[in-house]
Symmetry: C2
Subunit: 705 residues, 2 copies
């Protein structure tokens, strides 16, 4: 299958399959996904002259992709499996769900998996290796033993905030910066699902195995996807299934009233329970591998259990009960806060909200409820501490939600490679250096290597808000493809170095089609992308204070934009100082939501990390940071530096013109122009704002407008 | 005709016609509008038992409404006319266009007019008088001689910013706060024009004689009203015509390209001129009394002559040439400014823009071009100086544009009776006490009593942006009806006392249906409304600085909302002071756009009126106002006072519950609750903002959040 001409192939250009397609491959095993593996190889062979056999070993092979259940296994594969089992001291079928072994024996590369999904992921592993998968020296595939890969997270999910109807304010995709939806167009499903099929391949190649196909804000038309428009969802599910991806659906909590005509949606009402049971039965009759429901309840105007005097556990358990017979899960979002705060009341703190609502409910959720927690306590700002909810619900399955779509990080007009931020979040240890990490909590007892704390029976996995649309480059900014790729890879292997993920992405996306000096291309992309998140942080809101964006669309600066609104999260800047006092001693007490040592570290003005200082403390402009400069001078310095770094990125990109496809190069160049413009705007507004307030001139005498 | 049940009759409840309807009336004269006069009286008589004759004097009458051209005139009418002509030393038909005489002779009230429109306005004069028109003593109608009424402005026009299609951001009515449009609904004309007919009566009763039926921002569908959807406009024109109201149309300057398929809209291109001539011919073939075109060109993204290297005179004259053969006019808006300003550049000044663009073009416009100037140099803020353009184009017909819809004055959720502001604007004398007033400029040589300056051959009249929608009360806030009424009355007679206009409105609207103590009702409304504009000013942006509103919707406070944007007009508040330096000495030089004495008064920090201080000067917070307090203390005081005044208005309204229709009372009560809430929000945000910046505490120790 070739993606349609105007669509960029992202990290699966046909050339990425050259190494496989020019060799002899054997595929062993039954099932839909094993068929997908065969078809992928066959397509590559048709292009590059290799051959593929399925189910019958007739002659020598360069690559064997086999299910452990296949009989008979080729001798080489049997040997690899036996070695693996012996070394690991494991019994049969122990590669694990979705996992695979990869080894090289006697000039043959062997991939083994217990289930067809693992085989598919193994295939893409070989794709990533390319020629190196077959090389004699140096070896990336072990000659003795085997590399064992399995996903840290059982569920690696993308939430699409796509609307079926074009929303009058939010458009076709809420917080979407890459054109329309690949699923929906102007009230109807897209008839042609070619893009969805291509998307499924891309996701399988980076490890994503679940998609929610509609916005968590469920409007009238979208609500009906659950009932009379279920066929639209089934059509998508059919296209995703061969790539091991399940469909989930965002549903409205008021559905029994809105769709079912019941007088109530009370989660304890018998008719309501019956309604959900019947509706869910029908969903599974139609889509047997349906994943489950996603719910945003009692949040930003969405209906929920509060209307009936019930709590989030009651609400989530209602849906979980309906899904349980079919193995489905409910993702219940913890993004609940009062968006009608009084800004005059400094004791109210939006950062506290998720913990205050959910921590007391720990232990009350059914096993197939996944409480989905945004990684920070606020809302995907460029810098936040990790949400304390993640350490507060040991008896609950928690999923950590990341925002791949760049709502607050440049909206896919700015280069902002987010993997370094996500890696920091996933590696954060809420209980200190000896405790589990965020990644361990999300992985649950089944995965990770963390300590004894905060381990639910099973983790909820990693969820990302998708950054994909019908843009020819998928993500608007061509380099934003790396965020989508990195999300999948970190959900699979959260301890991976973001620079290594970037290398993978570069190798797949650009190397097979590179037009010039490949190493220079690689250096250019690393120079532009590796530090781009910290660069973005430098020229935007300083020191963790956050939310200095234009209300509504959230692009570009507006220092006071939310300062006097009911939405919460402010900076409280006055002529003397800036920051939010969230200490227990004198502030909102938010620091007390963390376990030690962080409850103490954040509480302490001396120990609090610089980059979060204004998130936790209100300080004078002259306060000296641990790094040595004053707060106000830090603001000036980082903002001048940030702009210079963006300008340097643009310069690097311009120099690399000959190395990239001209139209891709031109697109990125235009976007870098906009990024420089916007960074200058941020710098000047932030600097002018704080200069006007503080009256402190820049120590280096630079111009502040 | 009765207005449909759920629609409030505004200032024409059936009971307002009781005095006429219970008497004997003779109507003399031909023409459509004389027929309207007859029909209005006949309808009243059907209700109240009087009788009306037309064209034949058979028996005694209490009221004679006659055209001076009618033959034979009754003796009494002949006598009134002869007296009038003798006293005025005038020749025949000298009552003037749309004017009328009213007199009382021998127990008969006589109304005489030269044209049918005058007769209609005379009828509504009698309606306003009610029983007093027929009373023996005290007399409001003179026994000797006659009262002579004629409009100061030839054109008294309402611009509807109504969209045909619902605009995704602006909705059905741009800056509309009274529901949908009475003309358009969701892409189509309203089939039922009953509301339009009722509207026409209301407008005729306050003197409006022209309507533009679509938004000055002309989108795709609205552009076609000029051509293939012209029939929709004609249908409206048919309903308005019997009430003496002409239809105007907002057109897009790019129409020759967009609608006509020409390669250019260059105003000097021969094909473009021909296109406009042909299109306009067709408009007049369809709507013989069509008024003309309204154009917003090269403003806020609308197309215009600049694209072709031409100027506004070229553009306006193009359309004027096409309209001239039919007596039509083009209203060419002077609301032109750079909305992509650099906020860092303090030399750019949006206030200067209209003058800079238009003053140099004085004398270049054709006779049937009316340059339509917003009353202030910015954009309908609660306090602005008068636009210097009004004094800068003596050889051009100027219309002054007021905003009846309360975009920046509470959006018809706040009581804000605007007639006092308008009266100040109209009475302002740009050349000093001996020169003409703004009203004289708008009236032109034909009207007013001003001095020799600034008098175009004919004035352009008064234009208001309508505040009407399909809300049952027409204007959302029931008391906002008074603004619509007052607009018409001031366009007719700009020197009228706003409190007297309010009395007229109260008498018509409430007195005939008052349920209790009528005088208490009147006192209540005066207490709430007379000072409501100044109250609104007190609790919003201080001292003329303006534009501290939420960007986009413009409701509620956001002190920095526009401070760092490309839209212009800022306050430049820092820790030391606030205001915009528009002086010639050290600022943008805007003061130099005024003739003396105002060029000197505004330039001088000592002489500048307090209420405009921050519009013209940047001053320290400790600067002492002419009124005695410091700027910062003035900010605190007025904001606390403003809220108290709104609370007092609410108290007065609650006390008056028994005096009003319960549903009207309830609506206003709800709105006053919102007004109090919003006023508190303004007070607290403005006070908190300036306290945080200045650090100066309130001298009276009140709480600032």
């Amino acid at each position: 299958m070739t993606t349609p001409d105007p669509v960029h192939p992202a990290w699966l250009p046909p050339e990425a399959f050259r190494a496989i397609g020019s060799r002899r491959t054997l595929v062993l095993g039954d099932g839909l996904l094993a068929g997908t593996v065969h078809d992928e190889v066959a397509r590559a062979c048709a292009r590059y002259g290799g051959r593929v056999r399925r189910g019958a070993e007739d002659g020598p092979h360069d690559l064997v992709l086999a299910l452990t259940t296949a009989e008979p296994l080729p001798g080489l594969a049997e040997a690899v499996l036996a070695d693996f089992r012996r070394e690991a001291g494991l019994t049969e079928r122990a590669i694990g769900a979705e996992g695979y072994l990869v080894a090289r024996r006697g000039g043959v590369t062997v991939v083994l998996a217990d289930d067809p999904a693992g085989l598919l992921y193994g295939l893409f592993h070989v794709v990533r290796l390319g020629e190196r998968a077959f090389a004699a020296e140096p070896l990336l595939v072990p000659r003795r033993g085997a590399e064992h890969h399995r996903p840290a997270m059982r569920r690696r999910m993308l939430d699409h905030w796509d609307n079926v109807d074009v929303h009058p304010v939010m458009g076709q995709v809420e917080r979407g910066y890459a054109g329309g939806s690949i699923f929906w167009h102007d009230g109807a499903p897209r008839g042609d699902l070619t893009r969805v099929r291509s998307y499924a391949r891309l996701l399988a190649a980076c490890g994503v195995n679940a998609i929610s196909v509609n916005n968590v804000n469920v409007h009238a038309t979208e609500a009906r996807l659950l009932t009379d428009r279920l066929g639209d969802v089934a059509a998508i599910a059919d296209v995703l299934r061969p790539y091991g991806i399940r469909v989930h659906l965002s549903v409205g909590f008021a559905s029994p009233v809105v769709l079912g005509g019941l007088p109530t949606a009370d989660p304890l009402d018998e008719d309501v329970r019956t309604w959900w049971a019947c509706v869910t039965q029908r969903v599974y009759d139609t889509i047997p591998n349906f994943g489950g429901y996603v719910v945003k309840a009692d949040s930003e105007g969405q209906p929920g259990p509060f209307a009936y005097g019930r709590d989030h556990a009651d609400g989530a358990n209602l849906l979980a009960e309906a899904l349980e017979p079919f193995g489905g899960v409910v993702h219940w979002r913890a993004f609940v806060y009062n968006h009608r705060q009084d800004w005059r009341d400094r004791t109210t703190d939006r950062a506290r909200a998720a913990y205050d609502h959910f921590a007391p409910l720990d232990g009350r959720f059914r096993d197939n409820v996944i409480v989905q927690v945004k990684h920070g306590p606020i809302d995907f700002q460029v810098r936040e501490p990790v949400s304390p909810v993640i350490a507060a619900m040991p008896a609950t399955r928690l999923a950590v939600e990341l925002q791949v779509t760049q709502e607050y990080t440049g909206q896919q007009r700015h280069v902002c490679y987010l993997a370094p931020m996500w890696r920091e979040v996933l590696g954060f240890r809420p209980w200190g250096p000896d405790g589990a990490a965020v990644a361990d909590v999300a992985a649950g007892a089944a995965g990770g290597d963390g300590g004894p704390h905060g381990r639910a029976p099973d983790g909820g996995g990693l969820v990302g808000v998708s950054n994909v649309g019908d843009d020819p480059y998928w993500t608007g900014h061509p380099l934003a493809q790396a965020n989508l790729y990195a999300f999948g890879r970190l959900a699979w292997a959260p301890w991976t170095d973001p620079a290594a993920i970037l290398d993978e992405w570069i190798d797949l996306t650009f190397m097979p089609v590179a037009t010039g000096d490949a190493e220079r291309l690689r250096r250019t992309l690393h120079a532009i992308m590796d530090g781009s998140w910290r660069t973005y942080e430098r020229y935007t809101a300083p020191l963790g204070v956050g939310f200095m964006v234009r209300p509504g669309h959230h692009y570009g600066p507006d220092v006071d934009g939310y300062e006097y609104t009911p939405w919460g999260t402010y900076h409280f800047a006055d002529r003397d100082g800036v920051g939010v006092d969230r200490t227990r001693a004198t502030g909102t007490g938010f620091t007390g939501q963390y376990p030690p040592p962080w409850s103490e570290v954040y509480e302490s003005l001396d120990r609090c990390p610089d980059e979060l200082l204004l998130f936790f403390h209100h300080v004078p402009y002259g306060h000296v940071l641990r790094a040595g400069s004053t707060v106000i001078q830090h603001v000036y310095d980082t903002h001048f530096d940030g702009v210079e770094q963006v300008a340097e990125a643009r310069r690097r990109w311009e120099e690399a013109a000959g190395l990239f496809d001209p139209s891709l190069h031109a697109r990125v160049k235009d976007l870098l122009d906009e990024q420089v413009r916007c960074a200058v705007e941020w710098r000047d507004q932030i600097n002018a704002y704080f200069f006007r307030k503080s009256g402190v001139p820049d120590a280096r005498g630079r111009r502040i407008p």
